[in-house]
């Protein structure tokens, strides 16, 4: 079953490179996404058996992140199929500078998209640290062509930065793998297996110096990919220049995969009795990320960059939650779900607005609610959700983390966290409310076409899920979240 989860999208991706019919290729994309999502849903009832000597297995964190990835990918596949129908077959005018450009061949785009899904699935099921590294690097390589879908100089610049910065970060994470291997080596004994379960079992005799060095390198390496400030520099560029579908997947699924890498290392550290060492660093990086995001969100002029910086903020919240441990880790895992659903929804809606107004400048978008009521409502709903307003899910998870901070006596962490959240709320409110309200200044060119179902359907469903999670957390989900927080130093 695990093999099928990884192989189905990989094979479908390869097939997409060679399929000649555009229609069939799009159908294949949606069918693969649906099959993957169905298999993932089945895993909640039938936990699959480990394969490859336990190197591939689905534990609680893996299941949670696999579910997020599959759900988002299904939404993205439906959106992408409609998007490609509109984009293909003609040259496109650049919305910023007005020149004409081509898109990348659709076969490359769809193929890379499915290979990307396969790589992300492999990340979630890898129990072996080496395999995890290979999978995370593979996600970088598969997604680089996706960012360069619009063939012009700005997306090229974003792609180059993404490739180079993430590759360097991930190369450091490979060194971290070797450090972890050294810390697990028995003097004069056989080579250790870097499998999570074995490391956790034998955590007592890991060499702490090497384990700490490994943790720092893992944090730098995977933190780069996750977008923790000050290692986030590639993130706003890649998110603003790639098509909105890809931004949604990068923000909602890919960043989580890198986060999972850090969670795995922290699990080993907790088992080895070194929890406090990693926790301090995670709390520090988390607060720095939120502060950097707040600075760039206040006064941001580009709404896709605004959403990108909001991702930096929420990755900071995740790091902070895991750093607090216990109830904080529970909150962080719940927040990972909430953030992914909300952010993907917002990027889809941002794509709709971009298609309507042909600009990414916040100041030039006015009156979305009047032009397209559905898109406008979704945009406002997404804003309320992402800033942590009740009754949406993120409120619940952000509040859990806040409570954990105060309960554990980290008063100043909790205070700073609240101040930063408030600042970000102000920055986001200025941008979002201005865009939704008011009179449209210039008549958008395509205003009379109305909303298409594939444009509003996926974000609406995601938004409904976020609302639902704010009101009710299913038993199964709560069980999995508790299981994860136990391995991260919870009770």
């Amino acid at each position: 079953m695990i093999a099928a989860l990884v192989l189905i999208p990989a094979l479908a991706g390869l097939a997409a490179f060679f399929l000649r019919s555009t229609e069939w290729r799009r159908t294949l994309l949606v069918a693969t996404a649906a099959a993957q999502a169905a298999l993932t849903a089945a895993c909640w009832w039938l936990r699959p058996q480990p394969v490859l000597h336990g190197w591939l297995a689905l534990d609680a964190p893996g299941l949670l992140f696999l579910s997020i990835t599959s759900a988002l990918f299904l939404a993205a596949a439906i959106y992408a199929a409609g998007y490609l129908r509109c984009e293909s077959g003609h040259r496109v005018t650049d919305e910023e500078e007005g020149f004409l450009f081509d898109n990348a061949p659709e076969a490359t785009f769809v193929g890379c998209l499915m290979v990307f899904l396969s790589a992300m699935t492999l990340v979630t099921v890898s129990q072996h640290f080496g395999l995890l590294w290979i999978a995370i690097e593979a996600t970088t390589l598969a997604s680089a062509p996706l960012i360069y879908f619009h063939r012009h100089h700005r997306s090229l610049e974003a792609t180059w930065k993404y490739l180079l910065i993430c590759s360097v970060g991930i190369a450091l994470a490979l060194l971290a793998n070797f450090f972890l291997g050294v810390s697990a080596a028995k003097p004069g004994g056989s080579a250790p297996a870097l499998v999570l379960g074995e490391l956790v079992q034998q955590a007592g005799r890991l060499q702490t110096t090497w384990l700490k060095a490994a943790f720092i390198l893992f944090l730098v390496g995977y933190g780069t990919k996750m977008g923790l400030a000050p290692l986030h520099t590639w993130l706003p560029d890649a998110h603003s220049e790639s098509p909105s579908v890809i931004s949604a997947l990068l923000s909602g699924a890919l960043l989580n995969c890198a986060f999972l890498g850090i969670v795995r290392v922290q699990q080993v550290c907790v088992a080895a009795g070194q929890a406090a060492f990693g926790q301090d660093m995670l709390v520090g990086l988390g607060l720095i990320s939120m502060a950097v995001a707040a600075v760039f969100i206040l006064g941001q002029t580009d709404y896709k960059r605004l959403l990108a910086y909001s991702s930096v903020e929420h990755m900071g919240i995740l790091a902070l939650g895991v750093g607090l441990g216990g109830a904080g880790a529970f909150g962080a895992m719940l927040h990972a779900v909430n953030h992914s659903l909300t952010k993907a929804m917002l990027f889809f809606v941002a794509g709709n607005i971009l298609a309507l107004y042909q600009t990414k400048t916040i100041g030039q978008v006015r009156g979305v609610l009047r032009v397209t009521p559905v898109t406008g409502m979704l945009w406002l709903g997404g804003f309320l959700a992402i800033t942590g307003t009740p009754p949406f899910g993120p409120f619940l998870s952000e509040f859990t983390i806040l409570k954990a901070a105060f309960d554990q006596g980290h008063g100043w962490v909790g205070g700073l966290y609240l101040v930063l959240l408030a600042l970000i709320f102000i920055g986001m409110a200025t941008a979002f409310l201005g865009m939704a309200q008011g009179q449209p200044q210039k008549a958008p060119g395509v205003a009379d076409r109305g909303d298409r179902w594939w444009e509003t359907g996926p974000p609406a469903v995601l938004g409904a899920l976020v609302l639902l999670l704010g009101l009710y957390i299913p038993q199964n989900l709560a069980f999995v979240l508790h299981e994860i927080s136990r391995t991260l130093g919870g009770s």
Partner: protein, 212 residues
Amino acid sequence: MNVDLILVLVVLTNLKLLASSRLGASIRVVAAQGVVLGLLPMLAHAHALGLRVVVLALGSIALKGGVFPWLLFRALREADVSREVEPYVGYLTSLMAGVLALAASFWIGARLPIPTLIASPLIVPIALFSILVGLLLIISRKRAVSQVLGFLVLENGVYTFGVGVMEETSFLVEAGVLLDVFVAVFVMGITIFHINREFDHIDTDRLSTLKD
């Protein structure tokens, strides 16, 4: 040829890279470094000269000594502009920074004792040195090709550490790492090709539209 000789060659090639002003020469030096390092797994663990080690070593030599230079030379040929490295900081400053990095690597290496028996005490410092030189090359050179070379030197450093210190890693993981590095350089090569076409240039300081 023993392990220490290989490591000394790695140090010399790193310093040569920092001082070199020609892109073509730099590509050849990195290729040479890759080939020399490819021999390391066979020498570091003399008793473990199995088929697995030989296959991986040959694969690594073929990639780093053959495929990568070919890809990079192709990218270079497409851009028939000057073949200078065009550093942000001068060659002498780069060399001085390299020497400082070497000293720092030995200082750190002395503080991270390896619990198991390894082929040479120089392995950890030299691996760290390569990593630092790789990072230095990436941040101090304008050319996209130079930055890829920096990434390769960085990767060589990580590889030195892995091969020298880990007695056995599994075939699957090593092959996967090799494959990832290959695809990374391949994708970077394609991107450089597109940068050439878009900007008529491969200076990454032209890539400066996106900022806040």
